[in-house]
């Protein structure tokens, strides 16, 4: 872990005035000074920060390229102090593939929501995974389309009321939610397939460890990683931030169990143990 250093925005005088104080928490260098534009209580910001911390700690900021497609993360190029590509809806894994193949020394991540990754971009997702493309995919699953205002997502739960499932998701006509990790874990290509959550300090710490592991796998050439992050969308769920986290725990975690579904970098027994712990 790198030693925390002063934020570049502070002047020398300011630093000297607080010379006796110890910095214990500050903005990661990989985040810009821009304020997040996410809604209050949204967990995107938490995940962005975890990614930035992981990139700082692995000392890969200078060679990391991020890809952000359409969705609430579409303007995330303002938040990461990295070279960034904005991508069309669903195409982030293909764009990340192009960047990685052109410059294999770059560390490339795709940051995608559930509509993007599991609906319009399903083909790009599955094929990047089965190719074992050496990229890191961070998948935000909040069971709803956030940016367009709360429509049904491929991961919306049975019975979930959204703008486009106003009577609840009827599985007879609207089908069932996709469990992306379980699906991708059947493939030979992926190196790391893990589902985490950011609903509690404990889970946030585990999410951070998973994200960091995913980036380190890419650095070591182990291959494709996907970290699914169970997230909340208070605005479009129509709940307060705290109630949204309760709803997440009560409804999403039973359908989307946390755990490691595949880990090519771990000893077989260890991977099994991790999954069984969750």
């Amino acid at each position: 872990m790198s030693t925390p250093t002063a934020t570049p925005t502070k002047t020398v005088a300011e630093l000297e005035a607080h010379a006796d104080e110890q910095v214990v928490f500050q903005r990661p260098e990989t985040l810009t000074s821009a304020n997040f534009s996410y809604c209050p209580g949204c967990t995107h910001g938490v995940v962005n920060r975890l990614m930035a911390e992981a990139i700082d700690e692995l000392d890969i900021k200078g060679r990391t390229i991020g890809v952000v497609p359409v969705g609430c993360s579409v303007t995330a190029y303002d938040f990461f102090d990295l070279d960034m590509a904005q991508a069309a809806h669903g195409r982030a894994s293909a764009v990340a593939t192009g960047i990685k193949r052109a410059n294999p020394d770059s560390i490339v991540f795709a940051y995608q929501g559930d509509g993007d990754l599991a609906s319009i971009g399903t083909a790009e997702t599955v094929h990047a995974a089965t190719r074992g493309e050496n990229i890191t995919v961070i998948f935000i699953n909040n069971a709803i389309y956030g940016m367009t205002g709360g429509q049904m997502a491929p991961t919306s739960l049975p019975g979930q009321v959204t703008q486009t499932s106003p009577y609840g998701r009827d599985t007879k006509t609207m089908g069932f939610p996709i469990r992306v990790c379980e699906m991708l874990a059947t493939l030979d290509g992926p190196a790391l397939v893990q589902r985490v959550s950011v609903d509690s300090p404990k889970n946030i710490r585990q999410a951070k460890a998973a994200i960091k592991k995913a980036f380190s796998y890419q650095m070591d050439g182990v291959g494709y990683s996907i970290i699914e992050v169970i997230s909340s969308c208070p605005t479009n769920w129509g709940l307060s931030p705290v109630a949204a986290l309760d709803w997440l725990r009560e409804n999403m975690l039973p359908y989307y169990p946390l755990g490691v579904f595949k880990d090519a970098g771990a000893a077989p027994a260890e991977a099994e143990t991790e999954a069984s712990h969750e």
């Binding site: 200078g62 960034m84 590509a85 904005q86 195409r91 193949r101």
Partner: protein, 365 residues
């Protein structure tokens, strides 16, 4: 061995010429009649140390192109008509993010699945509608396998200079045709200008700012400024990059306008018309966008009428009419669905045109 002629298929020449132009990434998807190009790349690219990938779809392929172009690579994809339709979303993003790439369309008949025989029915799409939003691609149309060999290098160079995707619009006839060709000398990669805007990482040498490849701008005024800047570049392209070939044009009264393989047929048609006393000539647009309006303009003083000959239902004729702007009659002759016009048909169309124009002139007199 330099300057040695080899016998090669058009599709393979496009691939070899790309490799010799510094193309290091190719992303494609099989479709007739261009598949030989991808197959050639699959064989050669790994040996050159570049990236070849058969994507899961045309949509994925063009987005891989977007990624590699953003990373600063010389990148190419190829397809045929229905596949190009799938690529248009990604092409629009390339335009919007000002990313250079070379896109090959070896046209087949349409609409829909159409057929696999040669066609020029994607002229409108190539020059008007390669994706949503305001924008153009430079569109180059080869007529011979040799021109295919030379044009790919031009396409990469133009793309880099103007930061725009470039389309090479061929057809199934050229793609499948074998002709003797002198391949271009491999480009010295050091001669390719640096791309300071490329996504190479903020830690790359000489970097002071971070780079973003992006077509999104939620502020109305900003987006308009970006569009204005792009269209200023288009004006420069129109002024500097129009290309056309002419044949027997100096005294031509009846001017055939035809592009690609069809222009070779039209050329024979012009010769046949000359043989029966019709003063015919040929303009072959090499850049379809920008359309060579200055060449049309130069032919106008002596021209009594224009005849656009195409393998479609009449698409480029729109651009001929815009260039002529009512100053002479503009007619069309074409065949579709894989039926190729013959020189005799072109000569007949010219004879008919002469008769019509003469009759109209007599009536007026």
């Amino acid at each position: 061995m330099p300057n040695e002629k080899v016998l090669m298929k058009g599709n393979e020449v496009l691939a070899e010429a790309a490799l010799r132009s510094g193309c290091t990434c190719f992303f494609g998807y099989p479709i007739t009649p261009q598949t030989e190009l991808a197959a050639y790349m699959a064989k050669r690219m790994p040996k050159e140390g570049g990236a070849y990938l058969q994507a899961e779809s045309e949509v994925a392929a063009i987005n891989m192109v977007y990624g590699a172009a953003a990373a600063g690579a010389r990148v190419m994809t190829s397809s045929s008509s229905p596949g190009i339709s799938l690529k248009t979303e990604g092409i629009s993003y390339l335009v919007g993010a000002d990313l250079p790439a070379v896109i090959i369309n070896v046209m087949r008949g349409g609409p829909g699945l159409g057929g696999i025989q040669p066609s020029q029915a994607d002229y409108w799409q190539a020059t008007r509608a390669l994706g949503h939003g305001d924008g153009h691609l430079i569109v180059l149309a080869p007529a011979t396998v040799q021109e295919m060999a030379d044009m790919v290098a031009t396409a990469f160079a133009l793309g880099d200079t103007y930061r725009t995707p470039v389309m090479v619009l061929a057809d199934g006839m050229l793609g499948q045709m074998m002709e003797p060709v002198t391949l271009p000398e491999p480009l010295d990669l050091a001669s390719i200008e640096d791309k300071p805007w490329a996504l190479t990482g903020t830690g790359a040498p000489g970097r002071t700012t971070r780079n973003i490849a992006n077509s999104l701008d939620l502020v109305a005024g900003n987006l308009e400024r970006r569009n204005d800047e792009r269209f200023e570049r288009y004006e420069q392209i129109k002024a500097k990059e129009q290309r056309a070939e002419t044949y027997l044009i100096d005294d031509a009264e009846y001017v055939v306008v035809a592009f690609g393989a069809c222009a070779r047929i039209a050329r024979s048609g012009v010769e046949r018309a000359r043989a029966v006393g019709i003063k015919a000539g040929l303009i072959r647009p090499i850049t379809l966008w920008p359309f060579p309006t200055t060449t049309i303009e130069a032919a106008l003083p002596g021209a009594r009428a224009f005849l656009s000959v195409e393998m479609n239902k009449g698409q480029m004729v729109d651009d001929v009419r815009l260039a002529v702007n009512g100053r002479a009659p503009v007619e069309f002759y074409g065949r579709t669905g894989g039926v190729i016009p013959t020189p005799a048909e072109v000569a007949t169309a010219l004879a008919d045109l002469q008769q019509t124009v003469t009759a109209a002139g007599t009536k007026e007199a």
